[in-house]
């Protein structure tokens, strides 16, 4: 067994503890989630083989419903990781370090569900490859597919790279785990040695990728919004839709991080590793996003109502006073009023309140996705009695939706049982100078000043 060098980390035992054993509770929870996933798989299989999309509540003109809502939501959720580890990395926010992996894992696991949502929504998923055979770059859907796959690919790389030293650590330290698990670490660690050069290259790669990922983050969610924005449908056809989606994505992603952190903290007793101060930092961000969201909301809806274009007003009317009024105002309460109040008055040093607000925000953001997509479809430009749309999602759609979320939770939960969810090497202490001169020793943070000048260590 090749013992390699790792930065010293006092939390090591705490962080590695969950990995030692899978508890009964875990099995029960996984079992439940797996059951939901299976139900979803069954529903999807039925939709695929038997009913087609007639199993949904979709119709003309409401051609898109829950599935596309989920797609947008999952892609949005995926912005958490990239935001925390890429954008904050560039911004040199050192406090983000303990969060990075937990956040990136959200990205990593939501993205496939976003992609799956598209497949589920396709009339002919069996022809999905046509996109590669006959792809036309004029289509926003192709931009989407390109951006999302690129995003998925780089997220995997980014995530994996930053996992490497910790995989090696697991390989080296976890001798009491089942053989297959150990073998897995061995393979995945790719023979990481932890020498100085490796760490340096790793940091440089991550820095470089962070810039790239940041660009992708902006692109991906803008492009997702353009699937809507590039049509001339009222309510969608606005230049604001890109930034709006982006902000929403980062908002819900960040809120999701709060939830995940709180759970990890509680379940895995990581109170010290994940101190309350982290929540306070996130709180500041979230306050900013809440206000940003308000700003976007006002900008968009004021423009619409002052313009008073009949087509646009019909859609706005659907939201403010029509079929979707309940959702629209619920969204305001869930995304804005209550969370803002909580963040400002209750959230400081109070994880419970923060989580409450974060959950509300995420429910609200899901509703927001729905509200952006469906009301527009119910009031198309060429309006008459039969194109006045209504949409009642069916059980199939709900089951599949539930399965997607269950799948995300399941993957996440399982991941935390087999891999260190806190990046041990990144949060580790810097080494003694003497040791660091050792060829074998890795991490020399203070010497990386030129490549990471922006980092606020």
């Amino acid at each position: 067994m090749n013992k390699t060098w790792h930065p010293k980390n006092e939390q090591r035992n705490v962080v590695l503890k969950p990995i030692h054993k899978v508890t009964i509770t875990d099995i029960l929870i996984w079992g439940f989630l797996a059951a939901v996933v299976l139900a979803g798989l069954f529903a999807w299989a039925r939709q695929f083989f038997v009913t087609g999309l007639s199993a949904t509540g979709l119709n003309r003109p409401v051609y898109w419903g829950l599935y596309i809502t989920n797609f947008v939501f999952f892609i949005g959720l995926a912005h958490s990781g990239t935001f925390i580890s890429a954008i904050l990395r560039i911004a040199g926010q050192g406090w983000r370090k303990p969060l990075t992996r937990a956040a990136e894992a959200i990205t990593l696991f939501s993205l496939p569900f976003g992609v799956t949502s598209i497949l589920i929504d396709m009339g002919r998923p069996d022809r999905a490859l046509n996109i590669f055979f006959f792809g036309r770059f004029q289509s926003p859907l192709l931009w989407d597919i390109t951006a999302v796959s690129l995003y998925l690919f780089s997220s995997v790389v980014f995530f994996y790279l930053s996992l490497l030293p910790d995989l090696a650590l697991c390989r080296d330290q976890l001798t009491d785990v089942p053989a297959w698990q150990h073998r897995m670490y061995e393979i995945l660690a790719l023979g990481w040695e932890g020498n100085h050069g490796q760490f340096e290259r790793l940091e440089r790669a991550l820095d470089g990728m962070a810039v790239f990922m940041t660009m992708l983050v902006v692109t991906v969610h803008t492009v997702v919004s353009w699937v809507f924005g590039m049509t001339i449908q009222p309510g969608w056809h606005t230049a604001l839709i890109g930034p709006f989606f982006l902000l929403g994505a980062i908002f819900s992603g960040t809120a999701a991080v709060v939830i995940v952190l709180a759970i990890l903290r509680k379940v895995y007793h990581m109170e010290e590793t994940l101190p309350v101060s982290l929540f306070n930092s996130l709180r500041k961000l979230l306050i900013t996003f809440t206000l940003g969201w308000l700003y976007m909301m006002i900008a968009e809806n004021m423009t619409t109502s002052y313009g008073n274009l009949p087509d646009e007003m019909r859609v706005l009317g659907q939201k403010t006073g029509g079929d979707f009024a309940i959702f629209f105002w619920a969204m305001w309460v869930l995304v804005f009023f209550v969370p803002l109040l909580i963040f400002i008055f209750k959230g400081k040093n109070n994880i419970g309140w923060m989580v409450t607000a974060a959950i509300l925000v995420n429910i609200g953001m899901w509703i927001e996705r729905f509200i952006v997509i469906v009301p527009t479809e119910t009031r198309p430009r060429l309006l008459y009695e039969i194109t006045k749309g209504v949409y009642h999602p069916t059980l199939t759609e709900w089951v599949i939706t539930a399965a997607l979320f269950a799948g995300l939770f399941l993957l996440y939960a399982m991941f935390t049982r087999f891999f260190p969810i806190i990046p041990l090497w990144e949060t580790g202490e810097s080494l003694e100078v003497g040791e660091s001169r050792n060829e074998n020793a890795g991490f020399l943070p203070q010497q990386l000043g030129d490549t990471s000048g922006m980092k606020g260590k």
Partner: protein
């Protein structure tokens, strides 16, 4: 800038090129993928054997010419026959959808004999021979018993030679009880023309040449006695010529005809007579009428003295005295100023026509409907539009070869002279048919031993038709000739499935232009399943009966009958088959009074009418019937006037069924283009699917109500409501419609079937179930438009 070295230059031009590429690229990126259209023509694949068979639609009285595309033995598409003048290549949605009738999954396969109770729905399939023998035996038994008049034949709309064939059958058999369904529809309009002009037929309107078209509830674009004819006429009068006609629709609701008209005038239901008379009042006062016509070709315009020296009030004084616009406004709700304007427009835009509805508001339960028809028709006479281009013409028909004389037979002569089962001509003195009255008469004791139904579904299509179920219990033998097992057939003992119009031989008169024409139905494919042409079946029954009957019907098939009757058409049978139509176009508008005019325009019917071909502003026919009647007797016919006014068109109040305090809304059962009154349409899925286009409903009934009425009743759009009349109640969905009087609610017809087939059964409600089931006492007309209802949340 100065020195731009080579390196820089390259950079700049590369940038420019890049920019150029991007700019060039933008339209490509944002643009479209195009492919060449040439060369794709090889991709077409089609059937191996394609033939076109001409025919004629029978889903409404228009009888449009069709060309059926038969691909590999299947009828796959219908087009309009461009040779047929009524539709000249067009086909309405019903015509287009008729392959769904041909290939209807609910068609009957072979004659069905009742097993068990009537209405139990238990049938057994028997052979045609057995079925025909059963009928023949039954009929022979009736004749042996000396009571052939106890056979009743109720028909919907037998077309072409089928009608005289049926009539001849009844005549040879010896029953006067051949009952057509016109009392449900066009009899009022026909009476209006008959009592003024002496022709018992629907008038023909030369819409192509009219400048001003005033419709009194004639729903020309959705229904009307010849919808395709009125549609193409209106279409032409608007955009087919140099000046565009003006169309005015008078109707309590706007409907599509009112929407597409230049003006929609809302009227209080049942008051059309007053409105027409008010308009005439203004025209007369302004001396805008056609003096030549009213004085030289009409009767009773001025006061006159009869042969006995009695003084009679003429039309002019009658109208001037009673119908000034201010008074008419009170009756009709149409402002006096509008009445005056309409009068001015109508009289000064010759040629103008006032259009009689197929039913419209005429079947309003009082003889007022007949007077209304007379008054509306008189408007045309008053401005000289009668027998005039752009005005009203008389339909002429091809002469047909006379039937061979019927063998003289004492029994027949005797039984033919008995009173008609429906009371037409006796109980209902003005009536020729009183279809819906058959139920009451049978329940009242008229003995009927056998009933034939052809294209007739009285349980469903007569107001209060459910009474037929009771009446049928007194009739031991009922035979239904029908394509689909409708509500009435459910109570028959024998159903003889008829081949659809795409599978059978039949001729059909071309109506609506004045000149004579005939269209031909021919089998595009052999009859599907085990169905037969009812014409053939009637012949087979006669032949099986033997004796006088087989002697009277020497033809083997109905096709032979057509060939015999249309021998002198002037076209050989083969050409006729190829063309699908034969006609003599070019109505000759001869100088009024000339020999041509008498021969061609006035026509046979009118010259033979009791009155010398003159147009009656004072109805001599009415005088003969009612002139000497006691007041009480008159009152029993709903005539409140006395003296000359009886014979002059006037407004009679028709008391609605259901008093206003309790039932404040008038129920208006309306006809849809998509479904129409033809039952079969309700079992054609595509027609069900498009039925409620105007309100976005389908496969269902709905009740139309003005939103302010709804608000008053505390109802909102799409509420489920009860519609209750003194005769029953129905539940359906309410839809608000602005363009409708506040005191009227509309219920589209032809839903609420309880039989017929899978697509029709159990959808919506039938308004007729809660209509006044009575008959109008003088004319025997059914009552469609004066039942009041209340509406409340279900």
């Amino acid at each position: 800038m100065g020195s731009l070295n080579r390196r820089d230059f390259l950079k700049v031009s590369a940038a420019a090129a890049a920019t150029g590429f991007v700019l060039e690229g933008i339209p490509y990126l944002a643009g479209n993928q195009t492919v060449s259209a040439a060369g794709v023509a090889q991709d077409i694949k089609t059937s191996s054997n394609d033939v076109i068979v001409p025919g004629a639609c029978s889903l409404c009285p228009s009888g449009c010419g069709i060309l059926a595309r038969v691909a590999d033995g299947k009828v796959v598409k219908l087009e309009g026959n461009p040779m047929h003048p009524v539709n000249s290549g067009s086909l309405c949605p019903k015509g287009q959808a008729s392959p769904e009738l041909l290939y209807n999954p609910d068609r009957l396969n072979g004659p069905q004999k009742l097993k068990g109770e009537r209405g139990s729905g238990q049938w057994e399939t028997i052979s045609w021979d057995e079925a025909i023998k059963t009928v023949a035996d039954k009929l022979n038994a009736l004749r042996s018993a000396g009571t052939p008049e106890k056979l009743v034949f109720m028909v919907g709309d037998p077309r072409g030679q089928l009608l005289p064939l049926f009539e001849r059958f009844m005549q040879a058999f010896g029953s006067p009880n051949f009952v057509r369904n016109e009392s449900l529809n066009v009899a009022a309009a026909k009476l209006g023309v008959y009592l003024t002009q002496g022709v018992y037929d629907l008038p023909v309107y030369d819409l192509e040449n009219s400048r001003y078209i005033l419709s009194f509830g004639a729903n020309m674009l959705e229904a009307g006695p010849n919808p395709q004819r009125s549609i193409s006429g209106l279409s032409y009068s608007r955009r087919g010529r140099a000046t565009r006609s003006k169309v005015v629709m008078i109707d309590p609701r706007q409907g599509i005809t009112g929407t597409k008209a230049d003006e929609w005038i809302t009227i209080k239901p049942g008051t059309d007579a007053a409105l027409a008379l008010g308009i005439m009042n203004v025209i007369i006062r302004a001396s805008l009428f056609d003096a030549d016509f009213v004085h030289n070709y009409a009767f009773g315009f001025e006061d006159f003295s009869d042969d006995n020296g009695m003084h009679h009030i003429g039309f002019i004084n009658h109208v001037l005295e009673n119908y000034d616009p201010a008074h008419v406004e009170k009756i009709t709700g149409v402002p006096a100023s509008t009445i005056a304007r309409l009068a001015g427009e109508f009289a000064s835009n010759a040629p103008a026509v006032a259009i009689l509805p197929g039913r419209g508001g005429l079947l309003n339960g009082s003889i007022g409907g007949v007077y209304a028809a007379m008054a509306i028709h008189m408007l045309n006479a008053l401005v000289g539009s009668l027998d005039h281009p752009g005005g009203v013409l008389t339909q002429r028909y091809f002469g047909t070869t006379a039937w061979p004389d019927l063998p003289a037979d004492d029994l027949t002569v005797k039984s033919l002279a008995t009173e008609r089962v429906d009371g037409a001509g006796t109980v209902f003195p003005l009536a020729r048919n009183a279809y819906q009255a058959v139920a009451d008469r049978v329940l009242g004791g008229q003995a009927v031993e056998a009933l034939f139904l052809y294209d007739a579904n009285p349980i469903f299509d007569a107001p209060g038709g459910k009474r037929f179920v009771e009446a049928f219990k007194k009739i031991p033998f009922i035979v239904s000739f029908t394509t689909l097992a409708d509500e009435t057939a459910q109570y028959a003992d024998l159903i003889l499935p008829e081949a659809t119009f795409l599978e059978r031989w039949q001729d059909d008169d071309i109506r609506g232009f004045g000149y004579p024409g005939v269209a031909l139905r021919q089998p595009a494919i052999d009859p599907r399943l085990d169905s037969r042409n009812s014409g053939d079946v009637i012949l087979q029954i006669a032949q099986t009966m033997g004796d006088v009957m087989s002697a009277a019907f020497p033809w083997k098939t109905f096709e032979e009958v057509i060939q015999f009757r249309l021998k002198d058409l002037g076209v050989d049978w083969k050409t006729f088959q190829e063309l699908g139509v034969w006609l003599i176009p070019g109505y000759r508008y001869a100088d009024r009074g000339g020999q041509h005019w008498v021969n061609e325009v006035v026509g046979r019917d009118r010259r033979h009418a009791p009155r010398d071909g003159r147009f009656d502003f004072y109805s001599r026919e009415m005088f003969a019937l009612f002139g000497t009647m006691e007041r009480d007797k008159l009152a029993s016919f709903g005539i409140t006037q006395n003296g000359d006014a009886i014979n002059l068109p006037h407004y009679e109040v028709s008391a609605p069924a259901g008093d206003m305090a309790q039932f404040p809304l008038r129920l208006n059962v309306i006809t849809l283009m998509s479904l129409g009154p033809v039952s079969a349409a309700a079992n054609m899925p595509t027609l069900q699917e498009i039925s409620g286009m105007t309100v976005g409903e389908h496969w269902n009934s709905w009740l139309e109500m003005n939103p302010s009425t709804a608000a008053k009743l505390g109802l909102t759009d799409k509420d489920q409501v009860w519609i209750e009349s003194p005769f029953g109640k129905l539940q359906t969905k309410m839809r608000t419609v602005r363009a409708l009087r506040e005191d009227v609610v509309n219920l589209p017809y032809n839903q609420g079937h309880t039989a017929l087939g899978r697509f029709a059964k159990g959808r919506g409600v039938n308004g007729l179930d809660i209509l006044n089931p009575a008959s109008e006492p003088a004319s025997g007309l059914a009552i469609f438009t004066n039942t009041n209802v209340k509406v409340y949340r279900a």
